[in-house]
Symmetry: C2
Subunit: 391 residues, 2 copies
């Protein structure tokens, strides 16, 4: 494609960044024709003639080849993106919630309309994980993906570890520095990470799993004692999203859980707002991709790469296939569970208990959790109970 | 392309690995029709009808679409690859010496004949550095590439540091474990790394520089004292290949030198046979790619990825352009230079000296080396003198 005419949804920091780069670099041959926004009264750093509050001004404009969708609301985004594809337009999106929630439907729509649908910016910001899985590791037999895919929680955990801050203080520092939203629930409860590992898993293994079926506990229950314990053992606590195959090619494990990582490992040295993803494969062995996971420039970089790829007709091919994942294989998971002395819970959640410790102010149990219980046991929701699994 | 018919040059560990994978995975639609080898008497794990000692049996076979070149000799490889492209065949090669030496000529040949010429396996084994520079960071304004691109020297340095081995003992351990060649000169003198950073620099910045014009010192002069000094200062010594632009877009620095890296940095945690490359950019900030740099499976993985890309007609586009690099901008380089008490050398190589230390068995000077002297000064060849630059 010689020239690309773009309709942009959203003019936040990323949208504005994309607009600036494309305006300054005419040689890219990409022109933003119209920008749809919610609030027409806000002052914008672009000619007012570009803006509209009507989605249809973009969707129904036959000159527009590509919709770049950068809005927050996943439901509205889904409508926009579906309509755009049905009108024969390609789509670049950064909306992980929308993609994870409607992944198969969106892929089907893009195939039916023979358009490109790219979303590198939705997963780990500037880290080109989807593109590498699609293009570079397309023939390699992958065995696991394990990584830090959420910058906010990684920032908070880094502060808790390095500056001995409580969760609450680390969170407020993250907010102050622009690394956490005013409502951080999606991040700190691991929901954002679950969207991302769901998307990654489809590209890595050809298996689709809904985010809500992923075993998950966030970082809100972690206490100073847990960090002391980790330090004593030479371990670092990270919120790890992972997806592993067993040797029959079944997903044996897909989860978002606080995890102990040995100090010298790449993931334990992935700090602050950075993301890092390990790709395990039978040929290439272990690959590690690392970079900034969020923020104006890293996200813009990923969106621009996708726009540029659309110019030469690039489409994801999902070469590993697209199957609904039917069954987890069953296996126990080694975990450390800590809680205040007065907290009680049903110990039968453990398949076996290996260590127990108690003193006047804290207790912990290390053991193997029952696989069937792992998802629905109350300790996943109980804020008084920390759970950290072993890598 | 529906089917790909391949002529393979070389049946060493990588060649045999590729043959096995393509034979086992028929669904890839790639068939090896003929394999050219040097020694017809050697026992091979493939039907003897596949083998020939005549290059022309492959080059002149019109059914063969793709030549995969995996031989050691760079001069013979260049003839094979040139002839193949002139016959309209695409080429996948892992021969960094051949590519670095004839880079512009080979690119010109591939363009003139409208064929693909891919060589991911020539640079950092399984780490997809070229593909990411070509495809993903194609529009981003890159500012630096800095990395560990040679597995043998990294293995040796890791052993020297972690096991307190002398250079000689670390080298012999590397040989024993298959991480160094019987003649390790290309690796330990940094020549292999210079080939690689030359190739990378063209893809990152569109600038061509011959390997022999790259400032270079290997690891053969490093001594135990240097490692003690590094440890004391919380630094790690790595052989770093780098290529930096200044803000006018000129190469300000392209070198292969032993370098002090701060302990917590990604590159200081890149150990043993692993490679790691940092990509600095104005949008994505800093990216890090890490993986196995050499060996049977990592190299096979890269070759297979290239073969697979050729199936869908992929070509490098050199979007950053291809210019001969005319001038280094001049700047001084901060270095630590250590030597035995009895060694003398011309101190005017330093623009300025910041620290000096001497005791009965060793001396060191820390200062800024003159830019003009950097390449031709005798200390680069004097094995009694260690030189380690600062990151």
């Amino acid at each position: 494609m010689e020239k690309l005419t773009i309709g942009l949804f959203g003019f936040g920091v990323v949208g504005e960044g994309i607009y600036k780069v494309l305006s300054n670099k005419k040689e890219l041959g990409c022109k933003i024709k119209k920008i749809a926004i919610k609030d027409p009264t806000k002052k914008r750093n672009a000619p007012s003639s570009l803006f509209t509050t009507s989605a249809n001004d973009l969707i129904n404009d036959d000159e527009i080849d590509l919709i770049v969708e950068l809005i927050d609301d996943a439901d509205i985004a889904f409508k926009i993106v579906s309509n755009a594809m049905n009108k024969g337009k390609s789509v670049v999106s950064a909306n992980k919630k929308m993609i994870a929630t409607h992944h198969l439907e969106l892929i089907e729509l893009s195939k039916r309309n023979n358009v490109s649908f790219l979303y590198e910016a939705a997963v780990c910001g500037s880290v080109p994980i989807i593109r590498n899985l699609e293009e570079y590791f397309d023939n390699d037999l992958l065995t696991y993906i394990t990584g830090i895919v959420n910058g906010s929680t990684n920032y908070i955990l880094s502060k808790m570890k390095n500056d001995n801050l409580s969760y609450e203080n680390a969170l407020s520092e993250a907010k102050k520095n622009g690394f956490a939203e005013s409502d951080p629930t999606l991040d700190v409860e691991g929901i954002d990470a679950a969207y991302k590992i769901s998307i990654i898993t489809l590209h890595a293994f050809g298996k689709h799993i809904q985010a809500e079926d992923i075993i998950r506990k966030g970082i809100t229950s972690l206490k100073e004692n847990d960090f002391l314990y980790a330090k004593e053992k030479g371990l670092v606590i990270k919120l790890i999203a992972k997806s592993h195959l067993n040797n029959k090619g079944e997903l044996k494990d897909i989860s978002v859980l606080p995890t102990f990582i040995e100090k010298e490992k790449s993931l334990s040295n992935t700090n602050n707002e950075f993301n890092g993803v390990l790709i395990g494969s039978s040929l290439a062995d272990e690959q590690f991709l690392y970079g900034k996971g969020a923020g104006r420039y890293p996200t813009s970089s990923a969106v621009l790469s996708d726009i540029s790829a659309i110019k030469y007709g690039y489409k994801y091919e999902y070469k590993k296939g697209i199957k609904n994942n039917l069954a987890h294989s069953k296996q126990t998971t080694k975990c450390y569970v800590s809680f205040d002395s007065e907290v009680t819970f049903d110990r039968s959640i453990f398949d076996s208990i290996k260590e127990e410790y108690s003193c006047e102010y804290t207790r912990y149990i290390i053991g193997y959790l029952q696989p069937d219980l792992l998802k629905n046991t109350p300790i996943f929701d109980d804020k008084r109970i920390s759970l950290i699994c072993y890598n």
